[in-house]
Amino acid sequence: MVEPKLEQLRLSQLGDGVLVVELGTDASEATALRVHAVAQHLLGHSPPGVRDVVAAACTVALHYDPLQIEIVAGTQTPFEALAQQVTQRLGALDPAAAPATSEHEIPVCYGADFGEDLDAVARTHGLTLGDVIALHSAPLYRVQMLGFAPGFAYLAGLDARIATPRRATPRTRVPAGSVGIGGELTAVYPLDLPGGWHLIGRSPLSFFDPTAERPSLLAAGDRVRFVAITREEFERFHQDGRWR
């Protein structure tokens, strides 16, 4: 067995078809970088039988088919065999040489009927609408993980001054493109969905297309910055696909 260079690496089982690589116990930036490095490496060097690689805040999960895992010498079960392969693959990984991340600029038209809760968020924190927009569009966010719905990316890095608990009563339908704040995270609704986050604006971009080769605009580990646009720029995007 090759000892991995990664510190705090633990392999555990989730049921009988998922191997979980645990890379920490917090949602810190350092953990996130390790998660991203491991997930990218395992996506590129996926052991046979692995069907999905799912990164989250401090874990990378490998969904596998036990029937497709070759039981090699020294191992008894599909899990053991896969764990050995994963350990070997990660042993060769230098976590410092983190892979490149994609960066996205996402135009958002804040407020009015696109962001019905912008007023409420501003009031809650004793800020002006302009303050909230400035604070939301300043950080370079990191996609912590996807979940809830196809293309729904949880973005970490929200300014604590505008962190807002979810609404007591979720909306039954939030239109696609809506930008919301849920606790210390922010996200764009990729489809028309039910949702309990505070809505502050809307983006004209398409975040999920089931027919595209890469169906989701955002992937775990990507970086995101929001750019405030006017209503006219939002409308223009629908005419010529450009927002500036």
Binding site: G15, D16, D52, V53, H63, G147
Partner: protein, 333 residues
Amino acid sequence: MALKVHRAGILSTLQDLGRYGYQRFGVPVGGVMDEYSHRLANLLVGNAEHEATLEITLSGPRLEFSHDTLIGICGGDFSPALDGNRIPAARPVLVRKGCVLDFGTCRLGCRAYLAVAGGFDVPLVMGSKSTYLRGGFGGFGGRALRRGDLVPTGETGADSYPGLRHQLDAGALFAYPRWSVNANSAFLAHGHHRIHFIPGRHWELFTEDSREQFSGVEYRIATDSDRMGYRLEGPLLALKEPTEILPEAVTFGSIQVPPDGRPIVLMANRQTTGGYPRVGEVSTVDLPLLAQLPPGDTLRFESIAPEDSQRLYLQRDHDLGIMREALRMRMKQ
């Protein structure tokens, strides 16, 4: 070639073994709830096991065949009838063009799988024919079947089951052999359902009382259970102390416990990640049984070691392999 839908039933959707490779984009795996019955139905008609079948729920559809078609029905008992004549499940049935297949309401189990030789001719979306209703993609136009639909079916080689073909040529409306396959009869034994689960990483976070009760006391499947999750009524489960769990991947059979203490078993249409503490995961071999239990049925959980669970899974696949070979021989008769 097509199936004409005279009546759609409560929820009839095309499903296959699921949409893998896209969970990292938040795309649910979906697919059939009862993988065993689905695979068996496909084997009966000579399809690949990953070919889509029609998953029928609680109350079934009424379908007309545009061409002579070889079909197989497995899973729950919906009293299927062809032009008014009851037909047996778990065997291949060659149906004459123009015949109408009528499913009733489910008497045992809660889902049946209809396979047609040649499969369903719908486009692959992200590598799968499974219908995902919430996203509106996959299967037949991303939705459940409706009255008036013409669902395209694939081409087949006409050389299987020549004995049945002969009966149709002699004038029969439909024909089936005297034998049947040993379908997943586990759920037919009504009453005491035992579901194995593998205690997970959060198991120790629960109080001793909760852990003891969970693996022993009876749970009832609540009425608000669906393809996404089965809600369970029974002893409430409590954590030793309030604990924030960082969200991470979940899977088919993950048993999560929201703050109200009522466990939910995540099923085929589960989300890809979840943030609630989990008791553990249901054994893959027991998911087909669980998927056939309708709301109101009761079950007990029993813990199993992950390696034993994997062994049972490999064993079941071995048994299916034997069935596959046996059917290959029968298809020549």
